[in-house]
């Protein structure tokens, strides 16, 4: 499994990248690999608000639908519309295929997330 340095990771297998005041969210390489071929990503609306751990959308592989869970609380600024036509890009490039951009509620929530090394160790433990 691949990870990218400098990102935050949740134990639900989402990644979060901080750019200024904005948080960018996607799913990890480990997550896309476990799900298999992704055929649909259901995204929320702009301005929707979710708390940490809330479901903000659904990702569907050939076999099953899974919830997308917020790594931190925040308000949706933008959704990645291109996933509608190319959901498979989450498989081929999980760290480039962001799903939503948010305005974080509280930066201190980042402390609960893992770094790349911590996340790798977590996945190995889970396996």
């Amino acid at each position: 499994m691949k990870t990218v340095e400098g990102l935050y990771y949740s134990k639900d297998h989402e990644w979060l990248k901080i750019e200024g005041d904005t948080g960018i969210i996607g799913i990890s390489d480990h997550a896309q690999h476990s799900l298999g071929d992704i055929v649909y990503v259901e995204v929320p609306e702009e301005d929707d608000h979710f708390d940490a751990g809330d479901s903000f959308g659904t990702i569907e592989s050939v076999k099953a639908a899974s919830d997308l869970l917020m790594p931190v609380g925040g308000t949706v600024l933008e959704v990645n519309e291109s996933l509608e036509d190319e959901p498979g890009s989450v498989n081929s490039a999980p760290y480039e295929s962001w799903i939503i951009k948010i305005k974080l509620d509280d930066v201190s929530e980042l402390e609960a997330l893992l770094d790349a090394a911590g996340y790798t160790a977590f996945c190995e433990e889970e396996a």
Partner: protein
């Protein structure tokens, strides 16, 4: 985990198989990916481990009468070396299991049943055997089985045998075909909607054959395929799966499988119930449908306005058709082509339209 492993377990791990629990077995759901494996079978060829399937032999003077007593199709029309699809039913007309019947002779039949139903089926068969002069032999532990499916299945397997495989017609079999030096039971059958073969043999033979077939088919695009692709392939070809389109609460008539149920010239358990159901008229039936948005999944509810009219039995984003399609068991008033209803995907209702269940035109060699 107390799941059983097939003889090919180590081969699956070596090929990168992702193992899951299925019907009491630890089986590969995929290797490379469901869509790639699905496309390999539609365009070239794929090989599946189906060793979890159950096998039962029925021999004796009354074998024909006994199998007919349990089986919905008319085995009277079967010739030696022919295979037939049908079901075993409860008295109330719902389904014990669907199965293949291989006829060796009037006194010798070979039945292939679903992995998840083996214990129940064997008990059912044995329970009814006492009134007949037959011996029932449960052979599931003696056989491994692979399915080689797809337009290139015949040319790939032909490289490994001197026997002329083109002489085996659709739904026919030959026992004793020597493939790669070992004797096998080979039938031109499958569960994908493509041409292809199912090969039964002792574990050691199949273990060796797995690598031999992979190598023989590599240049032609043959891939090892898991249960994931097996399900998307059978679904597109509208082949039923026990626990989805048929079950102990659904009859074959409701499932649209009337072709495999012969209400005349035969006498089998459950026939009276089906005759009565036919005479009274069906109250519900399985239909195909498509949706522009939302992927249907088993168990999702189907609505007409506020009224719950049925449930989805299987649904997918179809790898071949690139559409969201499904099968649903719905009230009879909602079964004609073009009928509009709604499917509840998580909390939202999405529009769906009834279409033909023949999502994919089967490519059998008749």
């Amino acid at each position: 985990m107390s799941e059983k492993r097939t003889a090919l377990y180590e081969k699956h791990l070596a090929s990168g198989g992702k193992m899951i629990a299925f019907s009491g077995w630890e089986m590969p759901v995929q290797y490379e990916g469901i869509i790639e494996e699905h496309e390999a079978v539609r365009n070239n060829a794929g090989m599946f481990d189906v060793s979890h399937m159950g096998e039962v032999r029925i021999e004796g003077k009354d074998a024909t009468a006994f199998v007919q007593h349990l089986f919905t199709n008319d085995i009277g029309v079967l010739t030696e070396g022919q295979v037939q699809y049908g079901m075993m039913l409860y008295e109330n007309g719902t389904v014990v299991d669907d199965l293949l019947v291989y006829k060796y002779s009037e006194t010798d039949y070979f039945l292939v049943i679903n992995a998840g139903n083996i214990d129940k089926d064997v008990a059912w068969i044995e329970q009814h055997a006492s009134a007949f002069n037959v011996t029932v032999t449960h052979l599931s532990d003696a056989y491994s089985e692979i399915a080689v499916q797809g337009p290139k299945a015949e040319s790939i397997l032909q490289k490994l045998t001197d026997f002329d495989l083109s002489s085996i017609g659709f739904f026919h079999f030959v026992d004793g075909v020597v493939i790669d030096g070992a004797q096998c039971l080979v039938s031109r059958t499958g569960y994908t909607g493509e041409d292809g073969f199912e090969v039964y043999a002792p574990h050691e033979t199949i273990l060796k054959l797995w690598d031999t077939v992979l190598n023989a088919g590599k240049a032609e695009g043959l891939k090892p395929c898991g249960l994931g692709a097996r399900d998307t392939l059978r679904f597109e070809a509208s082949l039923p799966l026990y626990g989805h389109e048929i079950s102990d609460s659904i009859t074959p008539l409701e499932a649209g499988l009337g072709f495999f149920v012969k209400l005349d010239n035969t006498d089998f358990i459950g026939q009276e119930a089906l005759k009565a159901q036919k005479a009274a008229g069906l109250k519900r039936k399985i239909v195909g449908f498509e949706m522009e948005k939302g992927i249907p999944r088993q168990g999702y509810e189907v609505y007409a306005g506020e009224t719950l009219i049925g449930t989805v039995t299987t649904g997918y984003f179809s790898p071949t058709l690139k559409k969201n399609i499904g099968l649903a068991l719905v009230g009879i008033d909602y079964t004609s082509m073009g009928t509009a209803f709604e499917v509840k995907v998580r909390k939202k209702l999405f529009p769906a339209t009834v279409i033909s269940k023949r999502f994919y035109q089967k490519q059998y060699k008749k």
